[in-house]
């Protein structure tokens, strides 16, 4: 059984520490590559987001991928009212990997494909987190998946 280790990222967000000692903002991250027509992409650092029902890919991440566009009439919104940007719905294939060069099997997934660049790459549940056994123990600085 292949284990892929995640990175437990502990970020300092100064605005959160303005009024209280918020401490570190924790995130789980992984390396991911996407299938292209003839090879695989470079590695990208992605956020593992258990609050996201689907993955979100910035434009530069999916533009050279072997992608099947399924739909175009979708909008992604933020906290600011009336602020939204368009996304496409598409199918791509990826692998997850870690610094010890462990690598997962290929994962075909549906994802939102953004035309914007100024956002992180987010891996959500659809076809990805819903299909893997994931272990997260922030207290002991351990997070991984096992296929």
């Amino acid at each position: 059984m292949e284990r892929i280790n995640f990175v437990i990222s502990r970020e300092i967000q100064k605005d959160l520490n303005k009024d209280i000692n918020f401490g570190r903002a924790i995130r789980i991250k992984t390396e991911v590559k996407f299938k292209q027509m003839k090879s695989w992409s470079r590695s990208f650092f992605a956020i593992i987001d258990t609050g996201a029902y689907i993955s979100l890919l910035p434009h530069d991440v999916w533009k050279n991928a072997d992608v099947e566009i399924i739909g175009t009439n979708y909008w992604l919104r933020g906290l600011v009212p009336n602020s939204k940007f368009p996304v496409k719905l598409g199918r791509v294939k990826c692998v997850l990997l870690d610094s010890k060069l462990n690598i997962s099997d290929g994962i075909g997934m549906l994802a939102f494909l953004s035309d914007s660049e100024q956002m992180p790459l987010i891996l959500g549940f659809k076809d990805v987190l819903e299909k893997i056994k994931m272990f997260i123990d922030c207290k002991n600085n351990e997070a991984y998946i096992e296929e």
Partner: protein
């Protein structure tokens, strides 16, 4: 065949994690490219950061991690 990155690539990647507070102040919501524990490219997109890194280092761009430096709280959802 999937080509995997070098040990140095992952060391540079972890350097961005260790230096996130400073990077977040200097490059908020930008993509940065890091080579040998130095920022060698900055841009509003991965390709912008990659292009600058390529000029600066003359190294295979796949061996240079490019990371989004998120600053502040962001929530993305679908309408």
């Amino acid at each position: 065949m999937i080509e995997l990155e070098s040990k140095r690539y992952f060391e540079d990647m972890m350097w961005t994690e260790e230096n996130q507070p400073e990077l977040s102040e200097t490059y908020p919501n930008m993509w940065i490219a890091v080579y040998q524990k130095k920022v060698v490219g900055v841009g509003k997109s991965i390709s912008e950061a990659e292009a600058e890194a390529k000029k600066t280092t003359n190294t295979d761009i796949r061996e240079i991690p490019v990371v989004f430096i998120e600053h502040g709280a962001h929530i993305y959802w679908n309408e």
